[in-house]
Structures are given as C-alpha cells and as structure tokens.
Amino acid sequence: MNLTLKIWRQKHPAIPGFFETHEAKDVSPDMSFLEMLDVVNEQLISEGKEPFAFDSDCREGICGTCSLVINGVPHGGHKGTTACQLHLRHFQDGQTITVEPWRARAFPVVKDLIVDRSAFDRIIQAGGFVSVNTGNAPEANSIPVSKEIADLAMDAAACIGCGACVAACKNASAMLFVAAKVSHLNYLPQGKAEKDRRVRNMVAKMDEEGFGNCTVTGSCEAVCPKEVRLEFIAKMNRDYGAALLKGERKKTAAEGVG
C-alpha cells in the first residue's frame, strides 16, 4: 500500500516547526506505524537528507516512549493501542496521514516529533512513592489486600506515563496521569500512611509544572493506551478534598523547620 505523510519538522525548540510531505511507497499492511516511519527515514538517509527524530523503545506498547499524534489523535485513536502497536492494516491505501508531536506547554518540543516529558518524572518525585527504604519491609503476606482492591490498584498502576492524556486534553491537563498514580498507591494499605501528603504534593507539583485544569471531558480516557479510567480522577479529587480539609499539621518549634 502507499501512504502520503505530513510529518512535523522542527529543528530546535526555539525555531518554529512546519509540516513536510513524504510518500511511503509499497509499505505492507502488516507493518507497525513506526516501522513505516523507519522506511521513510531510510529513504531520507539514502537521499542524504536528515531522518525524522521520533521517540520509541520497546515497540511492544509498554515502555511509554512513543508519542505521536496521528491524524489529530494521540497514538492514532485505536482503542488501547500505542503508536508502536498500531498497524497499517487499519489505514486505507492512498490515505494522507498527519504525524505530530504531543502538544502541551508542559511538554516542550525537543526536536521534530520528540517532546520533553520530564515534568511527569518531577510529579512522581513529589510524592508518587511509598517511603520505605530497602530492608524495611515486613513479610509480604503479613498485610492482606483483598483481590478487589489489588485489582483496582493494578488497573490504575497500568499507566505507562506516555502523556497521551495530556496531548488529548484541550487544557493539556495531567489529571489522569496523576490520578492513576495517586489511586494506585492510595488504594493499597501500603500507601495509606502518606495518603494525604502524597495527593497534596503531587497536585501542587502538577500545577507548578504548567499543566491545565481538568473539566472532565474524558478525552484522556478515550486515548489512554492502557485504558486507565476516568473514575480515578474522582478518587483523586476525593482524596485531595479530604487532605485539604484535614490540613497540614504545623510543625512545633521543637521539631524545627523542614
């Protein structure tokens, strides 16, 4: 099959980008979308031109590295599928396809189709963990966790941190990503001790990083390759509200500052 591609080209964050048109000729319907881009890049290299820079690593839908907006939809809009797992059999012969990077203020473009998602890492650093040092752990079966709760936590923990939720949102909100991590840890007994602190700190960091507000339109859920559900945002809002109501305990003079 043959495809026409309009691919985003941007040399540098400070230089405005534009679309370049290329043909992908004689590609197989069994190819993944990224393998088709590999073919285009090989063609460019053979012509002495620079290939398009795009992020990918595992190419099996789990590492969360690939980040393409295909025909206006993050990951191409195929249910529960990352761009690397999207195959050409879902496209028509002769179709024109646009390929762009994630678009969000908090995810600046690095080059061509690559963006900087380190804001996500900083949100996790603010509270997306259980504070337990190596060696501190009790015997694994000493705290029973009901199957329902374990399954629910796993549903939330399935998030791969790709950022499609942000790219799909008209406000570039990171609520689904943050809610997934907050829910995963706050549902489990292991995460209960720092439940309030976690949600307060992660939400504060999210706001600081420049992500937009959530109006619960659900576009994030629709594009999430791991089908993380909107209900986790409700869970996070509940936890956040509760944490705000409880308030942060002021440290006494004896405890010192920080």
Binding site: I45, E50, T81, R117, S118, T134, Q190
Partner: protein, 638 residues
Amino acid sequence: MSLDAKIPSGPLAQKWDKHRFNMKLVNPANKRKFEIIVVGTGLAGASAAASLAELGYQVKSFCFQDSPRRAHSIAAQGGINAAKNYPNDGDSVYRLFYDTVKGGDFRAREANVYRLAQVSVNIIDQCVAQGVPFAREYGGTLANRSFGGAQVSRTFYARGQTGQQLLLGAYSALSRQIGLGNVRMFPRTELLDVVVVDGQAKGIVVRNLVTGEISSHAGDAVVLATGGYGNVFFLSTNAKGCNVTATWRACKKGAFFANPCYTQIHPTCIPVSGDHQSKLTLMSESLRNDGRVWVPKRKEDCGKPPASIPEADRDYYLERKYPSFGNLAPRDISSRAAKEVCDEGRGVGPGGRGVYLDFADSIKRLGEGTIRERYGNLFEMYERITGENAYRQPMRIYPAVHYAMGGTWVDYNLMSTLPGLFVIGEANFSDHGANRLGASALMQGLGDGYFILPYTIGHYFASTRPAKVPTSHAEFKKAEETVKALTQRLLGINGRRSVVSFHKELGKLMWENCGMARRRQSLETNLKRIPELREEFWKNVKVTGSGAELNQDLELAGRVADFLEFAELLCLDALHREESCGGHFRVEYQTEDGEAKRDDANFAYVAAWEYKGPDRKPELHKEPLVYEEVHMATRSYK
C-alpha cells in the same frame, strides 16, 4: 592474570551470611563522602541507585531513555520467582537454587545462585511494601503460578505486566531519592567510555543526547546496569535502544567479558512477518501453563486451518518428548524443539516458521472468562500485531532472541576485573549459567540492586579507600578526546549505506550462523564475514546530521559499531566451546536423540575474555566451576 571469584569458604548455606559479617562497613557519617555512578535505570540500576542513596552515598544515575521509568525491564511480562513456598508445594531456598543451577545446565557459579535464592524472599517483601500490585487470592494473600523449568508454583505476577510494576516500584524508590536530593538524575545521557586511573574505574564519559555535549563524571565507583546484548542479532525481543556499548567499552578498558555465547532464544514469540520487521514481540512463557504447543503430524496439513486438523493428526511434540514437564519444558529445550519440527517442514504460517500455541482445551475446561482474566492483555497484544483472535484460533509462535546470560565477568562481590567497576543485572554473567529460567531475570536484577551490591560496594570503599580523582585529570581529558574523535570519524565517512542496513546484515549473519544451532563451519564463516562487514562499515556508512544536536542516526551508529566488534567475540566464544549446554547448542555435540551434550571434563569453566587490542585475538581466561554442593547431572526434563 588468574581470576579470583572471591567465593567465601564454608558451607554453601552460610557463605553469604558469613561474608556479610566479614565485609568491612562504611561509617554512616562517612558514606556521604563517597560518590557512586550508576549507569542504567532498569530493575538492577534503579534498585541499586535508590538503595545506595538511602544508605547515604552520593549517587549519580544515568540513562539514555527520556525517563528512568522506560528501561527495558518494563517489558517483562510473566513474573518473578521467589522461594516463599506460599502454595505449600515443597519449595525452598535449596529447591530454587537447585532448579536454577540445573536450568543453567551446570554452567553457573554455585555460591552466587544460592545467594540469589536466599534474597529472593526479601525481594517480594520489599516490592509489596513499595505498593507493587501483585496478583492476590480472595483471602488477600499473594497468588502464585508456575513457570518453565520448575515443578512448584513460585512465580509472583502482576497480570502480564510484572516487569512494569516491579520497575515502577524501583523507579518510585529512585524518584523519592531524586526528590530528596540524594540522587542526581541524568536522562537522555549515554555512556561512551569508562575512565580508568591507576588501574581503577574512576568515572565515565557521556554524551548528552539532546545537545550532543560530551562531558565527564568522576566517582569513587562505577556501576554498570546496562542490560544485555540481544540486539547484536538485530531482531530480538529487546527494546530498540538496548545495546552492548557500556559493557563492551568497559571490556576494552580491562573488564573481562564472560560467556558471550550464552544467548537465550525464547520459545514463545510472535513470528516474523516480513523484511520490514524492526523487533520481535514476546508472548509470556506463562501462556504455556494453559496453552498446548503443537504442529501437524504431516507436512501436507500445514496449510490447512488448524481447527480442521483432527486430534489424531496433531503432534503435541513437547508433551510427547518431555512428558513430565510437557509444555513447561525450559526455554532452550522448547526453542530447539520448535526449530526441529519446522526444519522437518511441519511449521505453520508464512514461511513455515511457526508452531501453534493452542488454548482450545483450556477454554473448554476453564471457560473463556478465566483465560481472559489470566492472559487478556497478551491475547489483545497478539491480536494487535497479527490481526488474529487467539480465543478462536491457536496463536502462532516461534523462538526469538531474548536474553543474554553472558556479560561482564564479576566476582562474588559483583566487581569486574577492573577494580571499582561493578556490574549488575543482565549486564553481568553471574547467575544463570548457560540458560536462564523464566521469571529469574527480574529476581536477579532486583537481588543485585537491592540486597547484594549495597553491601559489597561498601566493602570496596572501606577496604581499599580509593583515591579521589577530579574530572580535570589527564585520563578524563584523554577519554573525552577519544569519544569526540570517534564521533567525528563516524560523521566524516559519508558513505552510501545506512547504519540500519549494516545492523540488519550483522543480525542475519548472527541468527543464521550463531543462533539456535551453531556448528564449526557456520561460526568460521562469521569470523571471516564480521571483520569484512566491520571494515565496510568504517568505509561506507552514512551517518546524517551533526554531533552537536539530537542525532538518533549517530547514536545508533556508535552502538552498531560496537556490535560489529562484539559479535566477533561472541562467535569466537561459541567456536571455542566445543560442547552443547543450555542456550549454546553446537550441532556436533548432541546425544542420539538430539539433546545437548555437555563436556564437563573439558568445559566446566567460565570463559572470560580479555581484550588485547583492535587487531589482536582476545585472551581466554578460565574460572573453573567447582560444584561443592550439587552433583553435575545430565539435565533431563523427560
């Protein structure tokens, strides 16, 4: 130079305890004076960086990905082994140890494996405490399942995403330490050289993959947790970025490389669909718990729809050949059996390189709902790639390169032959012998990072008191210049062939001549062809762009240049090992019924190769494998 594995004396079960007591400690207040460089953020690297920072060391962590959370450990599907014996089915530390030594075809170091089995139970505790959402029973306790090469259920899992959940656990511990300021994180940064001063590893030279800037980092010790070299075959289940650069460049600086010919071919991967293929996708081995492997008995039936082939005309060859382990025979054995039936012309699917993995019986017995619950995400993945529904028709699978048992030689303390350079996880050679059992890679990565390295590295500091070397030292400058010169050389060739075309050609040579079955002649072919290909690479490769920017073509060129050197060592090692063991199958050395035939009298050793210079043959050093506890038996799964 003689290899000293520094295995503690005394009974096997007491070695690690005794060693922990004998090792010197670093005073808590002094730990902050030591700076440790950790390269790689997979299970081994992230768990090590986090644990070392928790102890009070200054840690710098590096990864080439955009975030530490993306390391390829994330792709492990099936599970992690631990000798918890929760199912009460007779498991013990000793049994896990024995299964691993046997699974490794008696080519692993006994003391290391025993220690691994010991710490396996702590790993599960640690991960649960971090909030890893392992599968649970209704009573709230942890669930287990069985895996290849074992007759007990000791595998813990989180749906089909165990690697992801364990990595996110280690990543969260690492993130906490980054947030606390104890770890400085350098993502999108690639190691390009190890700096050695007075015979000790003192730092690294890296390239910032966004700006192209080359810079140096000094440390009191360097830890490589840089994964395996499966991508030397081009097509493998490894992520696209996986490479041998760190361990190979360390080898060139004096860290011996051990057993490179031990490569694992995983039996259950989705078959190749065409020349465009950029990587292969694994289907978790756990599927073999409920799936039955078969091919038609007659060649003529191979083209027919599988449902139309009656039971009597099917050959469930694993159940037939290995009745006691059946579909759960270890990976090397299952892979070879699949190759055999395909070589006989009984393979299915395009090109006849595939066998069926059939769930019809399990669906009939347990219902589709149960199968969906156990493997739903794997079935979905299969459908996305092949367009086929495995609830209705059997999956087609074929073996693919998956894991490297070989790696940098390390002693019992996980230190290489280059003092101050520690190597952990898949990057080292230590625990899996000639074949790794399923669900043991995650165990080893986390064991090394959480529970072994944090002790042994302290002993290195306390007993050797390494001198501080600043990055202004001449050796750092020299290494930086070498790296810059290499970059310029790659960019300056301006030939006619793309980097990928060289990588594909190398991969094909490796798969055809040094893959599932190797013979003297095929290896000699490779030892002639690889240097020729390498020469052509350095004359005719085309690398676009410049060095002073984000340049993926340049990154790949550096990695492929290293694969082109390393591949030769792999073939040399395969040629020299005149026996079959585990993942290394030499056609000349097999039993009458086609099983691997070991030669314990001549080859019961670790082959550690010393780099001697660009045009000189590497020198072989042997570490004899002494089995104090187990008897080296012929491995049988019949």
